[in-house]
Amino acid sequence: DAGITQSPRHKVTETGTPVTLRCHQTENHRYMYWYRQDPGHGLRLIHYSYGVKDTDKGEVSDGYSVSRSKTEDFLLTLESATSSQTSVYFCAIRVGQAATNYGYTFGSGTRLTVV
């Protein structure tokens, strides 16, 4: 276990409310990622971070923002939740140090339902 924790594990929220998901790692990895996983779409990158306060957009970033004020914490915020954001959200860290290893370690996921 690479020491990656997501919270909360489950959340139900109402449409239009802001929601923040937290990813915490204990091993000082530089790269952190937020993915969502939906049936038929697989894992899709929302945002990623390559250092403290260094973040960039992924392929499905609309409606999401992120922050990384400390190496160990990467926060994902749904600014105004919509039903289309009902999904399972995974945080990941890149564990490979070699240039040829782009394997990730994933957290256990947050199951978010927007009603």
Binding site: H41, G42, L45, T100, G103, G107, G109
Partner: protein, 114 residues
Amino acid sequence: QKEVEQDPGPLSVPEGAIVSLNCTYSNSAFQYFMWYRQYSRKGPELLMYTYSSGNKEDGRFTAQVDKSSKYISLFIRDSQPSDSATYLCAMSAEGPGGYQKVTFGTGTKLQVIP
């Protein structure tokens, strides 16, 4: 058309069988190839990664990459009920700004029957 195609299954096999899981891709820029295993209600875990064409073996698992055909495979020998999971292929290529963009397949659900 998706960059990475993976048959969703489900694939049911008897215990002890050899399992073959496959992905095809269209982006010839993919350089790194990975296989993840995901148990129900868990996060994916990295099984294997390869950088080039050819085979890589790790215990009962063999990953195979054929760049000329844009085809990758994962073979599981002597399959066990504990191998029942969804298997995701993933591959990466350099994106804008030098970032390695990883694209995942949608996963194949495998069930190994005792």
